[in-house]
């Protein structure tokens, strides 16, 4: 455990294990297959009534598979779905590298076990006495799922839970990266999680940010986002330490950028200044030029405002050369989990040398020239990737992920 700040700077940071649960599948292998096949995993919402919403669809993780092969845990039936998602993702990561013992954890979320809060409020509204109320209250807080997961695997490290809206997952990875890079810690667990909840679903619907149609990021006919859910966990370790113990290196995190765009609580600055600042900082931190980037996994929510601002920022900084896709087109926007899940997509792209697709795409906005990975994945040499996440509150985060040579 590292307590005091260290003078060691700019250490290299490896990803030594990863685990993922999303509508695209359970685990890295299924997920890679879904990305390759450009599977559309957005389906009609089944968790709550959407009869009075404009949007009727979301990317959903099937409940019946969530608790398969899970380690035994007392009172596990009381845990929220979000806890089960994190447990499943963490289990996959720890199975890959059983010697990884984290000093610390930095995780992102936006609403954690919100649906338990909803159940509780409905009981209050009905003046009902419900036996489950204390369990709902104890398991509703957003930090609870990661505490549950750490507890289950006997990890006693401290944990910071970042709730920077939709940028949370990338913020968590970025902060974890900086903690290892600066020598504060040697090994950090990071990632993000979020489970679909009625309150959040209706919230985006009320803003007319979500769409009754297909999710079409960067398409001229785009009409909005669809929500998703899931969890992604990455194990970060100082590179030399990982190499010394013979750990398998999945990728290297090279850079991180964060910016705050004070334009509006829910809308990005149309000039793309916040997004651009985050990407520029990430490249600066990685000591790389824009030309070094082979693929951008965009935030790409498919809302008119986000995609216009992000497209402008990307084309201003990178021109129209770099392939870009938003994988949210396939599984929806998993909010606090998105940055973590998409970072894992990037790692899979680096490992298997392909570009994940942006499905439901026709043509870009009139004045925008982006090189979209349209509708199908394809094989390509990929060494360096930028992954973006932007959120309410004007929070913007970008990370640079690179393939390890050899």
């Amino acid at each position: 455990m590292t307590f005091a700040a260290s003078n060691i700077k700019n250490r290299r940071v490896a990803v030594v294990a990863a685990g993922v649960v999303s509508p695209l599948g359970f685990g890295l292998s299924q997920t890679a297959d879904s990305l390759r096949r450009a599977r559309d995993c957005v389906t009609p919402v089944t968790r709550f009534s959407v009869a009075r919403c404009r949007c009727k669809t979301a990317g959903q993780v099937p409940d019946e598979r969530l608790v398969e092969n899970q380690p035994k845990m007392k009172h596990s039936h009381r845990l929220h779905r979000a806890s089960h998602m994190v447990i499943r993702a963490l289990q996959e990561a720890l199975d890959q590298d059983r010697r990884f013992k984290p000093d610390f954890a930095v995780i992102g979320t936006t609403s954690g076990g919100m649906s338990f809060g909803e159940d509780y409020y409905r009981a209050v509204y009905r003046h009902a006495t419900v036996r489950n109320v204390p369990a709902w209250i104890a398991n509703y807080p957003p930090q609870k799922p990661i505490v549950d997961a750490l507890k289950l695997f006997g990890i006693r490290s401290g944990c910071q839970v970042i709730a920077n809206a939709c940028a949370s997952g990338t913020n968590a990875i970025g902060h974890a990266f900086e903690c290892v890079q600066s020598g504060r810690y040697d090994r950090v667990l990071t990632g993000g999680y979020d489970a679909l909840s009625e309150l959040v679903f209706v919230g985006f619907d009320s803003l007319q940010a979500s769409t009754p149609e297909k999710c079409r990021p960067f398409d001229r006919q785009r009409t909005g986002m669809v929500l998703g859910e899931g969890a992604g966990i990455l194990a970060l370790e100082e590179l030399n330490s990982a190499l010394a113990r013979g750990a398998r290196i999945l990728a290297e995190i090279r850079g991180y950028g964060i910016s705050t765009d004070n334009h509006h609580l829910t809308q990005p600055n149309p000039s793309g200044v916040g997004a651009r600042a985050a990407m520029e900082q990430a490249l600066q931190s990685a000591r790389l030029e824009p030309l070094a980037v082979d693929y951008i996994n965009a935030h790409g929510t498919a809302t008119p405002f986000n995609d216009a601002a992000e497209a402008k920022a990307i084309s201003d900084l990178f021109g129209s050369r770099v392939p870009v896709s938003s994988t949210k087109s396939m599984m929806g926007h998993s909010l606090g989990a998105a940055g973590a899940i998409e970072a894992i997509f990037c790692i899979l792209a680096l490992q298997k040398q392909f570009l994940p697709p942006n499905i439901n795409f026709g043509m870009c906005d009139q004045d925008v020239d982006l090189n979209i990975v349209a509708n199908q994945s394809y094989s390509a040499p990929v060494r360096t990737i930028v992954s973006n996440s932007f959120g309410f509150g004007g929070t913007n985060a970008s990370i640079v992920i690179q393939q390890m040579p050899g």
Partner: protein
């Protein structure tokens, strides 16, 4: 790297203004609880609320027009901490300062209103004006906009220990040379729904006062407000070791977990004081047992009988109390404690060179830090 407190600000149920509230604490005052009701017509609960006068210096800003109470509390405390440090140049600040926001329940008033509309009238009745304010980082976003911060801004969520976790994050951030300051703000707003939840969780008392360290524990009273600590490299109180935090799985193991946390903080000055998070619940006895074993000579004080349980704000309030104790060599009297206690209680003659802040949340998280007076402040 030296991490020091540069400025302080708070909005508490006893008022705002560091010196004003500190004097009231030293005089043994406590906030007055008022009943909080709900539109569903169910039973009222007592809460320590923020007096209107406490927000009179809040700067006008377009972002605060529709913002929830939590954003107003945070803005008032944050701006006050910057003023305390003599920082006013917004443009310069934007590049030098990071914001770390600590929150537990967040914008619960608007969240409840938003969800109530869904339950009572259907999804198509939900207000698009309310939803953005329900997001956990809304209050941080408003404060960043008010202060012109365009760089690093993080909102951390957790239980009552989240305030210290935010200080730890500030230390992470200030280990980078690019930043000069980190403003840590902890905030909370009270609502009937929270009180009802805490009651059903068997942690709430039906009427004040909060009686810390009683056996059996009688329960706590919720409160609201914000605390802000501006951290930099040259200030008036030094933050020493900050424990990275941990959790307890069961209440039974809490004493051992706290003991481990205090031991890992390492040896400090003698005699030392502990600003405890005792709030009238099960955590009180665990805190006393662990402190008695690890820091047997320590004086223990908890501000919660005076302020109430401020959850997200509570840890930052504790840090401010600790800093004030080091600045003034005084601790306020311990309110409503039993006559006989197995530890030292604050007296007028004590001298503190070293203070430990111990935050034990009600939902399994634990954190602690040690701070000390800088030579200029030591008598």
């Amino acid at each position: 790297m030296s991490l020091e407190i540069v400025g302080l600000g708070w909005v508490t149920p006893l008022g705002s203004g560091i010196c004003e509230v500190w004097q009231r604490l030293l005089a043994g005052e406590e906030a007055t609880a008022e009943p909080i009701s709900d539109t569903t017509g169910q039973k009222p609960y007592p809460v320590f609320r923020i007096p209107h006068m406490a927000l009179q210096d809040l700067p006008g800003h377009a972002r605060l027009r529709r913002a929830s109470a939590i954003s107003r509390f945070a803005a008032a405390a944050g701006v006050s901490a910057l003023h305390d440090a003599g920082l006013t140049n917004e443009e310069q600040l934007a590049k030098q300062i990071a914001l770390v926001f600590a929150i537990a329940n967040g914008g619960v008033i608007y969240t409840k209103r938003f969800y109530h509309d869904i339950v009572a009238s259907g999804a198509d009745a939900a207000s698009p004006l309310l939803f953005p304010e329900t997001v956990f980082n809304a209050a941080a976003s408003h404060l960043a906009a008010i202060l012109g911060i365009t760089g690093v801004s993080y909102t951390l969520v957790g239980d009552g220990a989240v305030g210290l976790s935010a200080i730890r994050m500030a230390e992470d951030l200030l280990s980078k040379d690019e930043l000069d300051y980190c403003l840590v703000v902890g905030a909370e707003e009270a609502d009937w729904l929270l009180c009802d939840a805490y009651r059903k969780w068997r942690l709430l008392r039906s009427a004040p006062p909060i009686e810390p360290f009683h056996k059996p524990a009688k329960g706590t009273i919720l409160s609201e407000g914000a605390g802000a600590v501006l951290l930099g490299r040259k200030g008036f109180v030094k933050i020493g070791t900050i424990h990275p935090g941990t959790y307890y799985s069961t209440r039974r193991e809490l004493t051992e977990v706290l003991k481990g946390v205090l031991e890992e903080l390492g040896p400090g000055g003698d005699p030392s004081a502990v600003i405890s998070s005792a709030n009238g619940t099960f955590i009180d006895s665990a805190e006393v047992s662990s402190i008695s074993k690890v820091l047997p000579g320590a004086t223990i004080y908890t501000p919660k009988p005076a302020f109430g349980e401020g959850v997200g704000a509570g840890g930052v309030w504790q840090v401010i109390v600790g800093a004030q104790a080091l600045r003034s060599n005084k601790l306020p009297p311990l309110l409503h404690a039993p006559a006989s206690l197995p530890f030292r209680i604050p007296t007028s003659s004590a001298i503190f060179s070293d203070v430990v802040i111990l935050s034990c949340g009600l939902n399994q998280q634990v954190a602690a830090l040690r701070m000390s007076a800088l030579p200029a402040q030591t008598n």
